[in-house]
């Protein structure tokens, strides 16, 4: 099996993942062949505009897609540490039923997930993706104390008695920087600030010692100063616990601070993946380049206009043929980009980009056509 050739350094290798949803109008091809790698103890930042498939990717890894969704093809090879021997094996999450014992174990232990803080409402962002299929309830319930909810989750995840779990809850609250944790365990969620509630969620997620923490827009609803605190906390805890993080965001500033590697998504595909520095300083895909040019940067935009990406993200039923970005791409090659599908190929400083400009075969044809 292909899994054997994977590096031990790799925690999760996603290959050609396709996820479809059945809706009344037809089939939404939410993921159209997604490829990326998460390395052990490192942070992969996933960036993309609304509807690009960031959350669907996260849910697929957890095997927690909405009922109308299914993994159509692809592999998600997860490097699972053996119990004592230190040996590890790659298991293909894509092949595991959602309710299988193995997936339950993974979700309760090795892979944890946190979401956008739902009770804060600074900005009701990205509604399109957010409300669809938000079926897993990892949010705090309003009518139970924080301590009860934490103890329950921790007891279940670690299969330990409630009382012991309560003790761990207090320790974890302390770890995530909540002052006077013994008093806090008896508070109700509304008595905490948005930032504190997100800290509680992180505490729950980390209490079982996950190898992979999936954080889907964890600070989007929070203020900048709180966002900075939560992100710094996640980096500190990563140092301490050594987990890998898949950090999903639409914010290029946040991703620059958080991630070692970045995957850029557009319409259900990874269009570019590579080291953070390469993505920011030597982007290879026209979409990545355009995205980086379109954001205002402090101190650099004086009096100038922003460069824009023309048009808008097409709806899922009118995705252009060929390269899905071709109707907005400043470098589009008419007759070529709408006729063939670019694959992720090595480009730039060793990152990978899915653009026909980096496909030697295509470019050879283009040049010879020009000569003739």
């Amino acid at each position: 099996m292909s899994a054997a050739v994977l590096d031990q350094d790799v925690l999760l290798d996603v290959r050609d993942l396709q996820v479809h949803f059945d809706v009344r109008r037809g089939t939404v091809r939410a993921l159209e062949g997604v490829n990326f790698t998460i390395r052990k103890s490192k942070t992969l930042g996933v960036i993309g505009e609304s509807g690009s498939g960031k959350s669907v990717t996260a849910r697929a890894i957890m095997q927690l897609l909405a009922k109308n969704g299914s993994i159509v093809s692809g592999e998600m090879l997860y490097n699972r540490q053996g119990d004592d021997s230190g040996d590890s094996e790659f298991i293909d999450i894509a092949q595991q039923p959602s309710d299988s014992q193995l997936m339950r174990d993974l979700r309760g232990g090795e892979i944890a997930m946190i979401f956008q803080e739902p009770m804060s409402s600074l900005t009701p962002v990205y509604t399109a993706g957010l409300h669809i299929g938000e079926s897993i309830q990892l949010h705090l319930k309003p009518r139970q104390t924080v301590g009860d909810q934490m103890a329950k989750a921790i007891a279940k995840q670690n299969r330990i008695p409630r009382e012991e779990a309560r003790q761990i809850a207090i320790e974890m609250l302390d770890k995530v920087g909540i002052p006077r944790p013994e008093e806090r365990v008896v508070s109700y969620p509304h008595e905490l600030s948005g930032g504190q509630r997100q800290r509680v969620m992180i505490a729950i997620a980390l209490s079982c010692g996950p190898k992979l923490l999936i954080a889907d827009e964890p600070t989007t609803a929070l203020d900048v100063t709180t966002q900075a605190q939560i992100n710094d906390l996640m980096l500190d805890l990563q140092q301490e616990f050594g987990m890998a993080i898949m950090y999903i965001t639409h914010d290029l500033g946040v991703i620059a601070e958080m991630a070692e590697d970045i995957a850029v998504m557009y319409l259900g595909r990874i269009v570019e993946q590579g080291a953070t520095d390469s993505i920011f300083y030597n982007p290879q895909h026209p979409y990545t380049r355009a995205l980086l040019r379109s954001i205002p940067r402090i101190g650099q935009t004086e009096g100038s206009r922003l460069e824009v990406i023309e048009g808008m993200v097409p709806d899922p039923f009118s995705i252009p043929t060929g390269c899905a970005f071709n109707n907005r791409c400043p470098d589009v090659m008419p007759g070529i980009c709408d006729a063939r599908m670019p694959e992720l190929l090595t480009a730039g400083d060793g990152q990978r980009a899915a653009c026909l400009l980096h496909d030697p075969d295509t470019m050879r044809e283009v040049t010879s056509a020009r000569v003739h």
């Binding site: 505009e49 609304s50 804060s120 600074l122 900005t123 009701p124 962002v125 990205y126 509604t127 600030s193 930032g195 504190q196 203020d223 900048v224 100063t225 709180t226 966002q227 900075a228 605190q229 992100n231 710094d232 639409h250 914010d251 290029l252 500033g253 946040v254 991703i255 620059a256 601070e257 953070t276 520095d277 920011f280 300083y281 355009a290 995205l291 980086l292 379109s294 954001i295 205002p296 940067r297 402090i298 101190g299 935009t301 004086e302 206009r305 922003l306 460069e307 824009v308 990406i309 808008m312 993200v313």
Partner: protein, 346 residues
Amino acid sequence: MPASIEDPGVLLEVRNLKKYFPIRKGLLRKVVGHIKAVDDISFEIRKGETLGLVGESGCGKTTAARTAIRLYDPTDGAVLFRSHANGSGEGEVYDLAALPLREMKPLRREIAMVFQDPINSLNPRMSVSDIVREPLQVHGMDLGRETDDEVQGLLSAVGLRSEHMERYPHEFSGGQRQRIGIARALALRPSLILLDEPVSALDVSIQAQTLNLLQDLQEEFDLTYLFVAHDLSVVEHISDRVAVMYVGRMVEVAPKRELYTNPRHPYTEALLSASPKPDPRNPTVRIPLVGQVPDPSNPPPGCYFHPRCRYAEDVCRTETPPLVTIGEDHASACHFADTLELQGMQ
């Protein structure tokens, strides 16, 4: 010196504005306290400029902006607005805070508003052309055929095509809905527009298009903007001057370059350092900010920022620092504004 309304170049001057919301408790709904959402702020907006208003959620940005155009009745203070309704050169100054509502109506035409959430701010049962036309009808300015052209002109000014006119809001994307909201705001040819988080709900690429559009319209229609947002890079991009609020008070105001590179209030310094920078090679040095924003119904004594301020001294715990001018066009409300060496953004 900060300019005042006596200066014909000033469009709006807010003086000692307060807006308190009562907190009621019990069966009799007795007032047991007040949330001091806006607590004695003063600022001015000059003709043709964009004044950015930043701060964290709950700090009173929206309330301050809405009270300043009298969408809310102020608890105290003056809102001096220079009206050009009669076409006379320098216009006439009115105190919106003291004006009977009846006399407000003609002035309303000169002040418009664009909201954050494009989906909730547009009536779903009205077609796009009716949405843009409605303000004209309300003010008895609907002239039939002529107004049709007017509406079409507005929609094309914001980049919508005429075939969009008879469609309904739900048929549009977030960015297009925001354009509809902007066209509606322009209908009465206002001089001042309050933009409250107008691009916060939009995707990155749509945000850039909308910001450019707002700048183009400002030039074309001679507009003055009060731009409320929490995103410091967006505010820096669009504003001429920036004001920073903290728990209902204004802590610093300055031209944007000055404020971002040479902040003179510790809260501004912390806020700037928390703003994530899209540059992995030059991350900002974070200034740790302990604790939380205080409860506006029960703020601490002295400077509201003192429990979180790393420079705080005894005087900060007892005395409220007023907003004072400390340099050309630069004001700060910190006891030590003159002596502190604060870190800005490069």
